[in-house]
């Protein structure tokens, strides 16, 4: 996998040393908070409700066992023994002390990790399909391109003060698992005449004005990628609104100017930039690609099938995805045990994951935007052993893609911007569906919860989206239906008035019961049923009183 070059390593160390000095100067009073805040945000350090929070980048969600062990060590030594994996494929520590943060950053640098540029109006951590390099449906591994984008955007002089933050997502598969249509730029690998290139999508985003990205180029040859992306960012840097932070994202620029005008300006800029790229970027890409070369695959005879327990079978059914090699499998490890906090892993669990990656997984781990951990390459013969180890660590919950595999942002349990809590809602929904023993029958269902309009929990693209609000000093939860974050991306529709904290779980249960009654067959998913029938029957289930009043 990719390793830092010497330049990167020196750069990261340098930043840690600088930050150490800045923390000292803040603590002794020579820096004010106004001066210090941008510096700490550049180093991934936020102040939340109860404590500081350190957000550590995991570029394109890929890490090795040594890095995972170091994350565990940091959690134990300087935090409360756990970490929170987020929808941006990073890890957050919720309880660091200001004085300890430089040491934490040094410990990260020891394993080639950092917290740089996970904040500020810059190009953020590039996110990629969590099954990259492993998925059976993939055209090519998107991570070399993600890494090229990372190197190009890190400290790019022109793009340190964009109108607003800028997020890029990339997938190498036609099946979009990276929510490319809800990013400032989305890149979806496609083929034309046998040549791989990209469908380029621009102006997607969630937040208070959710928008599905528009296609700006149906096919971009691979070698034109950097100049073309640079052209987009540069047009945005010029046109993006700096007068109003709520109108500053590129989605608004695209909305206000129209995709035709943006496209024309981008093409003009691209024509200027293209010749300036001498091909060095392609040489660099070739070097990066060599570092992402697939492992030397184990070949071994499949063992005799062990006596299969129902638990193992169910786990295989839900948590295993087809690998590009028939004798391997992709294992998704659920961080959504029923009733637990979505995305949290204890230090002990992180070590188990590191051990499994080392022994059975070619030393590779991934973090998914759905807040789970992936072992991307496991030989099928090793699946029973992997399952047994996961089970012993409380990591074998068989619920990937099901009702209890909920995305939830930290909400008002941690986040200073929150208007309501989201974690307890996720915990209660998962516990309820577990008690009903219905989730396998319900099948694929994506429930996503955000604790405020910023939509970090992706509620707009949940089949069932839940948004926590403050209604006159009381937590209130609004439901949206029919959202979709894949290649058929859709923003969910608001179902109606919100629900109090003690009404939201029964409301979700009514929706799901209605779906089970309405579906055309056992194979029609919640989303398909919703698309066939529309909002009305679900609304009737959500608000039975309204129906009886109208009758």
């Amino acid at each position: 996998m990719y390793r830092y070059s010497d330049f990167d390593a020196a750069f990261v160390r340098n930043r840690v040393d600088q930050f150490r000095a800045q923390v000292e100067r803040r603590l002794d009073g020579s820096l004010t908070e106004d001066e210090f805040k941008p510096l700490r945000l550049m180093n991934g350090l936020y102040l939340q409700l109860h404590a500081y929070m350190l957000r550590v980048a995991i570029p394109y969600g890929t890490l090795n066992s040594a890095q995972m062990r170091q994350l565990a060590m940091i959690a134990e030594r300087w935090d409360k023994g756990y970490g929170h994996f987020t929808t941006r494929q990073n890890i957050q520590y919720n309880w660091p002390k200001l004085r300890d943060v430089p040491d934490m950053l040094d410990a990260l640098a020891d394993v080639g990790m950092h917290a740089i540029q996970t904040s500020g109006n810059t190009i953020r951590n590039v996110t990629a399909d969590q099954f990259a390099g492993a998925a059976a449906d993939e055209i090519a591994d998107p991570r070399p391109v993600a890494e090229l984008l990372r190197q190009w955007s890190t400290d790019h002089p022109e793009f340190q003060f964009l109108p607003r933050k800028f997020k890029i997502a990339i997938t190498g598969s036609p099946n979009d698992r990276a929510v490319t249509r809800a990013h400032d730029i989305g890149l979806r690998m496609v083929e034309r005449d046998g040549e791989p290139g990209f469908e380029v999508i621009v102006g997607g985003g969630l937040g208070r004005t959710p928008m599905i990205g528009k296609i700006i180029r149906e096919f971009l040859p691979r070698e034109d990628l950097l100049p073309y992306i640079e052209a987009i960012v540069s047009v945005y840097n010029r046109l993006g609104r700096r007068d109003n932070k709520y109108k500053a994202r590129i989605k608004i620029t695209v909305h206000e100017h129209g995709i035709e005008e943006i496209s024309q300006r981008v093409e003009e800029r691209f024509a200027v930039l293209r010749p300036q790229f001498s091909g060095v970027d392609q040489e660099l890409l070739a070097m990066i690609e060599a570092q992402f070369a697939p492992p030397i695959w184990k070949t071994k005879a499949e063992p005799e099938t062990p006596a299969l327990t129902a638990g193992y079978r169910s786990w295989i059914d839900t948590n295993i995805t087809a690998h590009k090699r028939a004798d391997h499998a992709i294992v998704s490890v659920s961080l959504k045990a029923h009733g637990a906090t979505p995305g949290d892993a204890s230090a002990a669990q992180m070590r188990v994951l590191a051990d499994l990656a080392q022994h059975y997984g070619y030393d590779e781990l991934r973090i998914s935007h759905e807040q789970n951990v992936i072992l991307p390459h496991v030989h099928r013969a090793d699946l029973p052993a992997v399952y047994a180890a996961l089970r012993a660590a409380g990591l074998a919950t068989a619920n990937i893609g099901l009702a209890s595999d909920i995305i939830a942002c930290p909400g008002m349990d941690y986040c200073a911007l929150a208007t309501a809590r989201s974690i307890p809602v996720a915990q209660e929904i998962a516990t309820r569906f577990d008690a009903l023993k219905l989730e396998h029958e319900i099948g694929p269902l994506k429930i996503k919860i955000s604790g405020c309009i910023n939509a970090c929990g992706h509620h707009h693209v949940g089949h069932i989206g839940i948004l926590g609000l403050d209604r006159a000093g009381v937590e209130n939860y609004q439901i949206t239906l029919g959202g979709d974050g894949t290649e058929t991306a859709t923003i969910g529709e608001r179902a109606g008035p919100g629900f109090a904290a003690d009404e939201i779980v029964p409301a979700v249960e009514r929706l799901v019961t209605a779906y089970l009654d309405l579906r055309a067959s056992d194979y029609e998913t919640f989303l398909q049923t919703y698309r066939r029938l529309g909002l009305a029957p679900f609304k009737a289930a959500l608000y039975p009183e309204a129906v009886s009043h109208a009758a």
């Binding site: 603590l27 102040l47 109860h50 404590a51 200001l98 941690y414």
Partner: protein
């Protein structure tokens, strides 16, 4: 008609620890809201906030939060402020850990 002033406390986060703190009548920062100064007057509230802002080497992000007089001293009114007196609801971390 003038609206009745909702009493306030001055609150912030501790610079080094990040923990929630409140301003007391004798200019200390306490970790317990019951020990905070309950300010009943708008003008005084502004003055106390100015004082807090001058404490930038000790606390971060001071603001005035609505509060009421409870049995043990000042108590929060809004649920956000109530959470700040305890900690998160998914683990017994934060203030509730040592309470």
């Amino acid at each position: 008609m003038t609206r009745r002033f909702t009493p306030k406390v001055v609150t912030a986060n501790d610079l080094a620890e990040g923990d929630v703190v409140w301003l007391t009548a004798d200019d200390r920062w306490t970790r317990h809201i019951e020990e905070a100064e309950l300010i009943e007057d708008a003008g005084l509230a502004e003055l106390r906030l100015l004082h807090a802002d001058s404490q930038a080497h000790v606390v971060v992000g001071a603001y005035l939060a609505d509060a009421t007089s409870g049995p043990d001293g000042p108590a929060p009114l809004h649920f956000r402020e109530a959470f700040r007196t305890r900690g998160p609801s998914n683990y017994a971390h934060g203030k509730q850990e040592t309470a």
